[in-house]
Symmetry: C2
Subunit: 223 residues, 2 copies
DNA sequence: TCTTTTATAATAGTATTACTATCATAAAGA
DNA sequence: TCTTTATGATAGTAATACTATTATAAAAGA
């Protein structure tokens, strides 16, 4: 069986849907490589255009600016993560096991999908860890938020909160705990690689460490 | 009694110590106002120069770039926060009470100090919440880190970890829990104001909410 | 098949940003 | 008093973040 999953990313994020053309697809795929390599601050449309043998003008017809392109990539990630959560929780009855699976997903690289969309999952993972907060820690977040561009993050948060509440219906902060799991999984992985004294992680195996830390935390919090 | 606390910020952060001149002090003070107002991305040395009736060239003689200036501000904050933690924990015997005081400090605005350094504490607090991760989520973090510019954050982390370990010597992740408290206090406050569906917070009183959430979390984790 | 639409490439151009360099002057230190 | 040093004034550069124009090629429609 070979199947492909597609997510319709909110139309407000792009000017023209990159999924419908070859340049568009290349644009997003190579953008992931470049943002990983250069960091978001040093990533520019000019460099991306050169890399895909196209022009800045063409990229601007797809995305208003590089912030929107990053948002597009993260929307794709959040959608895919929510899909994976739903998929992997199928037929799992044990509520504790469900939460364990969620932490496993949050702290490890995305599995390679069989579809054509061969985004580099290792790079995508690093971008989520290093750059994702930059899409909402901006002055005009309220304006941007009006276009529902953070809905996939909110949906993912709500989905995880659901499993939290199922495990412990009396727990008062399911959403906050949910975002704490997501953000902490990024922070701890980032710190363990780049600023290790801010964690108790060993240099190697930071995914495993973060998973252990969050499992311990989550089940102590939920009882 | 009127006393003033001074912190010697790591010399590698600045080119010339802003504390020793009037322009320098103005520079940092007004920078806090401007970064708050514009957000770090739209903050420029040109705008800052205009605001203090000086020139870009002068500011560049103090700070290599705006990233260093933000780092300077955050170093000051981290030093002050560690000082406050030490100060407020003086003569508190109860280990649980110590942790409660730490969370209170992490989730509320800095108290106004009596000294001359009249940085706007409300603005500084918002900058810490919104901009602080941007000083380390950069491609050259390893290079920057070599100059020990994150030492105050690490010291604050270690200090909090100390109280965590004192309360529960068997707990295996004191540093990771420490940074989780710090970062989560930023995240939850930011979300509650800007992306409320990512939290369980009411629109009002986000400091109080975050404090409650973290207290609940911390003592369940530590037992 | 011919025409029309549409996307892209090629190119040019602008305002702003992030700097670096030079020089005169004023203030501080020796 | 002489010298050092910080600042202000000014200029300039390369890169960034766009916008606009036109020619061409390919796809869609009649």
């Amino acid at each position: 069986m070979d199947f492909q999953v597609k997510f319709k990313v909110n139309e407000k994020i792009y000017l023209r849907d990159p999924e419908i053309s070859e340049v568009g697809k290349q644009m997003v795929k190579i953008a992931i490589d470049l943002i990983y390599e250069l960091g978001f601050e040093h990533f520019t449309f000019k460099k991306l255009a050169a890399e895909i043998n196209s022009t800045e003008a063409t990229i601007y017809r797809y995305f208003e600016n590089k912030h929107r392109l990053l948002l597009y990539i993260l929307n794709w990630y959040w959608c895919y993560m929510e899909f994976l959560v739903i998929f992997k929780l199928q037929n799992v009855a044990d509520k504790k096991e469900k939460l364990r699976i969620i932490i496993q997903l949050l702290t490890h690289e995305l599995p390679e999908s069989s579809g054509q969309l061969d985004y580099n999952k290792k790079y995508l993972n690093q971008i989520v860890i290093t750059e994702s907060s930059k899409v909402y820690l901006v002055k005009d977040v309220t304006e941007i938020n009006k276009n529902k561009v953070f809905k996939p993050y909110k949906d993912l948060c709500a989905k995880i909160a659901e499993s939290i509440s199922a495990y412990n219906p009396g727990y008062k902060f399911p959403r906050s705990l949910s975002t704490t799991l997501i953000e902490t999984s990024h922070d701890q992985q980032y710190f363990s690689i780049n600023l290790p004294r801010l964690t108790d992680a060993p240099a190697k195996n930071n995914s495993e460490f973060t998973s252990n830390f969050l499992n311990d935390l989550l089940f102590k919090v939920l009882g």
